[in-house]
């Protein structure tokens, strides 16, 4: 489990497609492989958001927990999906709980490291921001469609 | 017996004899009569029941009867009701069923069929309207067996218009003032200082057979010329005009026209236009039962696309705004009807203009939409 396989994964992943080699190398340098057992939490709401996950295998439930009720699963990123953008925006805190539903293998990228580099190299910052915005837009549309409650009679 | 297409001339006594002959043959004769200040179809037993010497003044949202200075029997245009109510009754029982231990049994013929009807005084626009509804209800097929039976039995004595109304535009729609084919007999009233006669054209063998009992003389060239003049005169008296060229494409392309907001500010969605219109066919189907739940009935009654519940689906309605409902009515009448049935839904009778309480004029709305489109 070295940098080499990470590098290949990133180069082939749609999120990073179009980035130049030096950028890919840098990002790969911020990453490491991680594994979670079913039921294990990747992060909790309120914790410092300092990581971005790229799911290689398995499914993660993004949940809201409130006292007196069952957790509500609002999203369930799986293979190929990207989890976590709060490392980019203050106050840099996770907004939801992330719990592995099955055995999860993922790449964890160091968010602080990435963020500092983006501040320093605005060009890379813009490239990453474009990609983040695109995913956020799609998820916003999904959330809005579900908010429209289209299955009601 | 006079052949198809031939013309004869009868006098007032002859017209009375025609009514008698029709009644003798088992028809209810339905003709224009004055009821509650309007000229509407009702059963008559004699030509004395016709509105002799009356005419109507029609404008957008206005209808008044006025005395003529002659005794014409057909010297008026159309009123608020039409022959539609005889062929497609406003409310009728479709079937009745009784529940038993094994399910339910339909009661045979719960309502006896009325005697066949003879329509006396059908205008060109009205005959066209009947033929428009024929296409809707499928006279040839089995779409509505009740309509088919009533329609095939109905005897049509048409009348060529001499006195069109202020809201008429049959010329624009190609439905008058001369009646088109489809009548059993067609009359043109020839009223002069010296004589009160009717030029009668034979349309069918059934018409010829009834006419055989009526004293008549052959129509000469003078009679035919006089009849022609009546129609030509009417052609020049149209109260309205509707430009129909490209109207389907115009309306299909005008779903977002600002004109709809403009008319919606005036329209009450009262549905008068759909009730008065001789081609509107939308109807509701209502299932009822008695208190015990043993006897159930299915009734059909006129409905209107202007009603808020017309497009109810689940908890909501598709066309909730007045804007959308007016747009539906006009677009259906003048455009989508063509794709559905092969003709326009409008025959230019002007009833919707006359009977709109706020005087909305279909011809003016189309003009305004065209203007907006071309702007």
């Amino acid at each position: 489990m070295g940098i080499e396989p990470l590098h290949t994964l990133l180069r082939e992943h749609p999120f990073f497609s179009g980035l130049e080699e030096p950028d890919i190398e840098f990002i790969a340098g911020c990453g490491r492989n991680v594994v979670f057992e079913p039921g294990e939490y990747l992060f909790h709401e309120g914790e410092d958001a300092d990581q971005m996950f790229i799911v290689r295998r398995g499914r993660v439930a993004l949940e809201i927990v409130a006292p007196g009720r069952e957790p509500v699963v609002l999203d369930s990123p799986a293979e190929g999906d990207v989890i976590g953008f709060s490392w980019l925006f203050p106050p840099y805190r996770w907004q939801f709980d992330g719990r592995a539903l099955e055995p999860v293998r993922a790449v964890a990228l160091d968010g602080v490291c990435l963020r500092d580099k983006c501040e320093e190299d605005k060009r890379l910052g813009y490239e990453l921001m474009k990609r983040v915005a695109s995913i956020v837009l799609r998820r916003l549309q999904s959330a809005r469609l579900r908010l429209a409650d289209m299955y009601r009679p | 017996m006079t052949g198809l297409g031939s013309r004869v001339v009868i006098d007032r006594a002859g017209l009375q004899a025609l009514v008698v002959a029709l009644r003798g043959a088992g028809y209810r004769v339905i003709a224009p009569t004055i009821r509650a200040g309007a000229i509407v179809p009702d059963e008559i037993s004699s030509i004395d029941d016709l509105p002799a010497g009356w005419t109507d003044e029609q404008e957008a949202g206005r209808y008044r009867l006025r005395r003529r200075d002659d005794d014409a029997l057909f010297g008026y245009a159309t009123g608020p009701r039409s022959w539609k109510e005889s062929l497609f009754p406003p409310r009728c029982l479709l079937w009745r069923a009784e529940r038993d231990d094994h399910g339910f049994e339909v009661v045979e013929d719960p309502v006896p069929a009325p005697r066949p009807a003879a329509f006396l005084g059908v205008r060109g626009c009205e005959l066209a309207a009947i033929q428009v509804q024929d296409r809707v209800f499928g006279v040839e097929g089995f779409a509505d067996p009740g309509y088919r039976a009533r329609r095939l039995q109905a005897f049509v004595v048409a009348v060529n218009c001499g006195t069109p109304g202020g809201t008429c535009f049959c010329v624009s729609m190609g439905t008058g003032p001369a009646v088109g084919p489809g009548f059993d007999l067609a009359l043109t009233e020839l009223l002069s200082r010296d004589a009160h006669e009717f030029c009668v054209e034979v349309g069918t063998e059934r018409g010829a057979a009834i006419l055989a009992a009526v004293p008549s003389r052959s129509a000469g060239p003078d009679d035919e010329a006089a009849a022609q003049r009546v129609v030509e005169g009417a052609t020049r008296q149209m109260g309205r005009k509707l430009e129909t060229s490209g109207i389907k494409e115009l309306l299909y392309g005008s779903y977002e026209s600002p004109r709809w907001d403009e008319v919606a500010a005036r329209c009450l969605a009262c549905g008068n236009c759909t009730l008065a219109c001789p081609t509107c066919f939308c109807h509701a189907v209502e299932d009822t039962s008695d208190l015990e739940g043993r006897t159930a009935e299915r009734w059909r009654s006129w409905d209107s696309c202007f009603s808020l519940d017309f497009t109810r689906l689940g908890a909501g309605k598709i066309r909730a705004s007045t804007r959308s409902r007016y747009r539906q009515w006009l677009t259906h009448k003048l455009a989508t009807w063509i794709d559905q049935f092969g003709t326009s839904g409008c025959v230019g009778c002007g009833r919707c203009i006359t009977w709109c309480p706020v005087g909305i004029d279909i011809t003016e709305e189309v003009r305004a939409i065209r203007r907006t489109q071309e702007a």
Binding site: L101, S142, R146, Y151 | E140, G314
Partner: protein, 285 residues
Amino acid sequence: MTFPIETAGAPLPEPMLPRQYRVRSRRRETHDVVTLALEPLHGPGPRCRPGQFNMLYAFGIGEVPISVSGNPTGRGPVLHTIRAVGLASRALCDSRPETVVGVRGPFGTDWAVESASGRDLVIVAGGIGLAPLRPAIHEVLAHRERYGRVSVLIGARGPAELLYPAEIQRWRSRFDLDVRVTVDAADGSWHGPVGVVTELIPRASFDPKSALALVCGPEIMIHFAARSLLDHGFDPNNVRVSLERNMKCGIGLCGHCQLGPEFVCRDGPVFTYARVGRLLATREV
């Protein structure tokens, strides 16, 4: 333009008169959805095609249009999956076995599944929209070798609102079907995708140039699913949708179900998106 009403090739003398059917069995699907198995009291019933509907009559109460959700060709009782929304549908949902109900039909256009022969199929079902698609799925499975890659994408409000869960499981266990199920929101016991059903489309395998899509569900969902399919390269003529409107007669006469020039009961309920897309996108048509 006239049209004779026909079922099973024979003209119906009284198209507004229901035939009597007995409720053979009743199964509760969700808190407000029931599937009834109906068989005719007298003689064999007419053959329905997947996508068609019947007008179901609760004696003395009313009639509603319900798509056939199983056994369309009449080998066994015909199934209808009904959601209790109004008086008539509620009465039908409450019907116990042996109750006699009225049936008129079948009416409307069908999915024409056989036209997908040799092509990939993408079936997108939202909520109760799975019911009219179920006979189409059965038809595909009955002749699986005729079709290319077949994807069945199912969405519902939550796990408790999923129709036919046991059957979905059986479909998922097949290797010749790609079945994906998502819910809008779930509790922790749901281990599948969470999201709107349109998000499943990019995950399906199909050749957009030749594939056929069948879409059914709430109209908002149809609208967004069709858009997504078009964005993925589908020709609107190859996207078929099933629509719903207020229906009183079911035979194109009462006028209630009109969508522009279309009578949904007669020219639909199955339409190509090419034919109705623009109308669906216009507000309050």
